[in-house]
Symmetry: C2
Subunit: 213 residues, 2 copies
């Protein structure tokens, strides 16, 4: 179960709340980019960045110089998956079908080299499943240039909207089309790097992400 704190309790649209921890995991596992919110000089800053999950921990990474990864403060990490445009008969009831997770906490700067390694593995695999086993792993110099943060998934909320538009009784007879325009993210044909070594083919773990025509 997801814990409910004052800030993870949904105030509006309570029926959209999910409280099963498995919903949080499957949503996070399906995303590729999160939006990381931090406070800098009293003002919010929101940056898109990668992430990876290992159990109840979310890993973030970046340059050791990044403002968004400075230690000590609270962060908010939001992952949003867009599933459809909800079109109603009235402007007011337009919406989007989506799944979103919001995680709050004070991230820990990971110093243990083994955990740093596992965090980077999770980050790489989140973006490109199957890659960690085939690529050159981080060098000592690369490890030194990278900050890895760990954020507990203890304080998190999940919100899901599915289904057709809601609307007011009196609008039902209007001759306006209403429904859902589904949205999904798809992968296109892999584009090899121009300097690819001769004879290197697209590996299965990449090819299988592309839908068959």
């Amino acid at each position: 179960m997801l814990s409910t704190t004052e800030r993870t309790r949904l105030r509006r649209g309570k029926h959209k709340a999910r409280t099963d921890r498995a919903d949080l995991y499957s949503l996070l596992d399906a995303g590729m980019v999160c939006h990381l919110g931090v406070v800098v000089d009293g003002a919010p800053m929101v940056v898109p960045t990668g992430y990876g999950r290992v159990g109840d921990t979310l890993y973030l990474h970046g340059s050791t110089g990044a403002r968004s990864l400075r230690a000590g403060g609270e962060v908010c990490v939001t992952v949003t998956l867009l599933d459809g445009v909800v079109m109603a008969r009235s402007a007011f009831h337009h919406s989007v079908n989506h799944r979103s997770a919001v995680v709050y906490g004070v991230p820990r700067v990971v110093t243990d080299e083994r955990e740093r390694w596992e965090g980077l593995r999770a980050l790489t695999e989140q973006l490109a499943p199957g890659q960690w086993d085939v690529v050159r792993r981080p060098s000592a110099k690369e490890m030194a240039a990278t900050r890895v943060l760990a954020l507990s998934l203890e304080e998190a909320s999940v919100k899901v909207r599915t289904g057709p538009p809601s609307g007011d009784e009196e609008d039902h007879g209007l001759p306006v089309w209403a429904g859902v325009l589904p949205v999904r993210q798809v992968f296109g044909e892999p584009e090899p790097a121009p300097d690819l070594a001769p004879g290197v083919e697209v590996p299965d773990h990449v090819a299988r992400r592309v839908p068959k025509p």
Copy 2:
């Protein structure tokens, strides 16, 4: 030209910065959801929400009770479009091709009824172009329940990553596939609401968003 303030100046990956205001507009016009960052009790909160643009103003809306729309404070609005997974021969050089815009400012609560109307029109059209002209417009009661915020696009930055993976000279000979796996958002077949009035067909402005098979 986009102005450069201390917080919109890119510190790393400076070659990814775009300074033409037209790049900001086209990026914002291509998105459907932004991530709105605010500070609540000293901590960041990031929520996905809709938006609409009119000239140099970004409009946001929501319930009059929403914590994220409380007046007075600084906000950060980020729009991210994912264009591809960048796969390198090394874990370190994995990345994503993307376009992102970050806008900072103190939004103004719109009180002028005509501007509120124009803001809601922009929000509806951003999500579902062509809808405003066919749907039932907001009622007085709906208008009263809705807060509309206006955020100036004066302080904004745009970051774009395109092209193949970068990498280190010494990795070039590795027998590892490298390249870009393109990512795009596509619309599926429209799903009519179950209570749709008989004989109402999917209108052109919706149908044309779905790619032909």
